[in-house]
Symmetry: none
Subunit: 129 residues, 4 copies
DNA sequence: GTGGTCTAGACCACA
DNA sequence: GTGGTCTAGACCACA
């Protein structure tokens, strides 16, 4: 479950992204406890100090709260989490459009490709009517 | 103009991706000459042997043709290039859908976000009517 | 057990020929393990990278299969091996005819020489009835 | 027209083979003048001394005769040349049988392959009746 | 131990 | 100058 680190961005930023994804997807829910810094460091094969830096940055933005002796907890604010989720979605969509355009596709074509891919997935859908 | 290498995939594969993007986008057009192995190596700050490996793999797949003493050239086949472009688009769309779903968005929401983002871009469009 | 390299063809191609002969003759049988790259390099007194190149070219042609950490194995396909054997035989016969003709021999004479040589061998045969 | 030298045999021996082939094939006919040592050295890209050694060895076997100031000449004896031709043919046939057997073919199969190949060649024959 | 990747650098063949 | 081959040797991933 290691991060595929790239060499152009600080690792602690990549760790933040990694955690934000889990917040946005609901894997880490509001108010729940994050893995300890040491545990996270072990899982990601990085130095605990690097994890601490990531946790601290997130605390500054009120995304998590650390309670000495207890651990680090996801914010109780559902709004805050929803905010992150929307931000990440925006970024995702922007990147997608940018890359699709770089490949020379028009808006129409992009929408068409997306619709087709959805249909494909529906065919092989495993989760419901 | 360096590649932002990640550490989980061979550099020569990342170089191939880098070049395929340029093929698909038309930056490297059918029949045109690629930068020489040495030049590409300098630009990307990698060893010429690593570039050669990338070029050779692409040659095996008939994407480029090397002519000793002359250089390495993009295939003349527009079809081959279109094929790459479509493949890359498919992969792009699949990844996008996968990540959007990981963030908990439904098909409807994804399409809506996309449509909104397009509108935004149209407002700031620099090449439109 | 060194290869008698000639200077006009890449060593890795000569290594491939060397191995193909052993495949065709059954010395390396279907599914069996080839000597490791390092061992083969030592035996042939070449660099391991050169052996690897030979092995990789053979893998691309589905003649061998490499399993990381385990070694390189001859294809399981008897058909594939038979195919090689036939190809090599064809080439052998063609070269023989070509050289015999270069010496000014006719088809009749060639066949006669062959028949005589077989008789000779039969006389000194060690495994015959 | 360079020789594809291998590294396991003296170059002068390889030059002798090269010349014997031309004798046997009639390209160098009985009594005719061989290229001068200097010319041969230039053609083969070797040192003239190496050519001289080859010529000398052939002279010892009465295959050629050197006449000071005139050059080196092929023996006048047709018998001698025929003898070489037969020797080379024997060696050729023996090598062929040996290699075919190494590929696992029986006498019957070898003769069959040869016959088939002759038929093939007849089809595409350019000098036939 | 096995194969995989990469660097550094030499020398060659072709133009 | 361009690609092709090869050596030497490092370090990694998998078993």
């Amino acid at each position: 479950m290691a991060i595929n680190y790239d060499t152009t961005r600080p690792i602690y930023e990549q760790i933040i992204d990694y955690i934000l994804k889990k917040l946005a997807s609901g894997e880490f829910s509001a108010g729940s406890k994050l893995p300890s810094q040491r545990e996270m460091a072990k899982v990601l094969s990085v130095n605990p100090n690097t994890v601490q830096r990531a946790y601290r940055e997130m605390e500054i933005k009120d995304l998590v709260e650390t309670r000495r002796g207890l651990g680090t907890f996801v914010t109780e604010s559902e709004d805050k989490i929803e905010e992150i989720r929307v931000e990440m979605a925006e970024e995702l969509v922007e990147n997608f459009i940018e890359e699709a355009r770089a490949l020379g596709f028009t808006e129409k074509e992009i929408e068409k490709m997306l619709a087709e891919k959805f249909k494909e997935f529906e065919g092989g859908n495993t989760d419901g009517a």
